[in-house]
Amino acid sequence: MRKPSRRKVVAGGVGLLGNLLPPNVIAQVAAPAGPLKLAPLGYAFNALQPHIDAETMEIHYSRHHAAYVNNLNAALYDFPRVAAMPLEQMLARIAELPDGLKATVRNNGGGHANHTMFWQVMGTTGAQPSGDIAAAIKRDFGGLDKLRAEFDAAGTRLFGSGWVFVTVTAEGKLAITSRPNQDTPLMDGQRVLFGNDVWEHAYYVTYQNRRADYLKAWWNAIDWVKVSGRYAAAKSGALAI
């Protein structure tokens, strides 16, 4: 059972729980009672170096992402019927949610979905696109170089915090789009193939103001084996977040 006093603290502000607790405590409470869980990262914090440094990964996952999960779970405690919905449906139906939940689901639910996807599409295989996904990239962008250039330009243009995404339709058609803050194309009922976080917390420790350099380096951290898997899932209707 969750104690009311804890809920009050968690609901006190965006990121507040993460901000009040030292890292070892965060690790213990990263998956509190509630419908949403912080999934294991799947690789070590230093696995993506030098493109993303270990400290950035640790804070990003253990503090920023964990805070979104905790804030959302705390808010959903009073709304069991919403809490029972899959996250992608919650996000697609924000307009129908109780007024008191809309902003929390948008910010923290969006943050949870975006980061869950983000950790999933990165890795260390070093593979290049091949097969279906390579063909789709060639068809829809004219090749990987053009996709990268367009994607990075969208990320550089985005003013303030937000994300750049490649969306995928059930037919396998790809498109680049960006969203502010923790908004996601899932809120428009679309599916995300992959995306990159351009909040400053994603790159400031290593790249400071040089967002363009981070965007360029990030392609070394993407795992095309995982992206291929998501592409196949999207076409079979199995891709959720």
Partner: protein, 198 residues
């Protein structure tokens, strides 16, 4: 007249340990400078904004939904004052007389500090938190996203704190509340706040 980057009104290491030299170097020399450069392209000589005051450009761009100018000139305005809203050995409860009566009417210094920090903590994503004089002449707290500022919303900004992560990530990482508390307790230049009251 072209927009220019004003020099920092103190040494880069003058606000340490609350705001480091490294933060001020990136924040002033890189981030603020980028807004000046982009602002000159978007709203400098040869544009419809040429010759207008920066305050009027902020209001006109926001009313006209000219988002690129809202972003770049808004941020130029915000940063010009941000540097002056801080000073070494700043902050604290000793307020200039003109401000003191407004703060008392607001509910006191402690309430003001709590509400200001809360406005900054709850500004989701990049943006600013503010003390403003509202349309009724009363003191209020506010928050705005990205490059927006209270001028665009019909209020007079008298104190602002930058809560873009670039303003605190080097020194505080994700701990935005700690940064906001340090700003209010140790950095605020209340004399510039009083000056902004006009």
């Amino acid at each position: 007249m072209a927009f220019t980057l004003p020099p920092l009104p103190y040494a880069y290491d003058a606000l340490a340990p609350y705001m480091s030299k490294e933060t001020l170097e990136f924040h002033h020399d890189k981030h603020h400078n980028a807004y000046v450069v982009a602002g000159n392209t978007l709203a400098g000589d040869g544009t419809k904004y040429a010759g207008k005051s920066i305050e009027d450009i902020c209001k006109e761009a926001f009313a006209g939904k000219d988002q690129p100018v809202v972003n770049q000139i808004g941020q130029h305005y915000n940063h010009i004052h941000f540097w002056n809203w801080m000073k070494p050995n700043g902050g604290g409860k000793k307020l200039p007389g003109k401000l003191e009566s407004l703060v008392t009417a607001y509910g006191g210094y402690d309430k003001l500090r709590t509400d200001f920090v809360q406005a900054g903590v709850t500004q989701f994503g990049s943006g600013w938190c503010w003390l403003v004089i509202d349309k009724d002449g009363k003191l209020a707290t506010a928050k705005t996203p990205n490059g927006e500022n209270p001028l665009m919303h019909g209020q007079k900004p008298i104190l602002g704190c930058d809560v873009w992560e670039h303003s605190y990530y080097i020194d505080y990482r994700n701990l935005r509340p700690k940064y906001l508390e340090a700003f209010f307790d140790n950095l605020v230049n209340w004399e510039h706040v009083e000056k902004m009251m006009g």
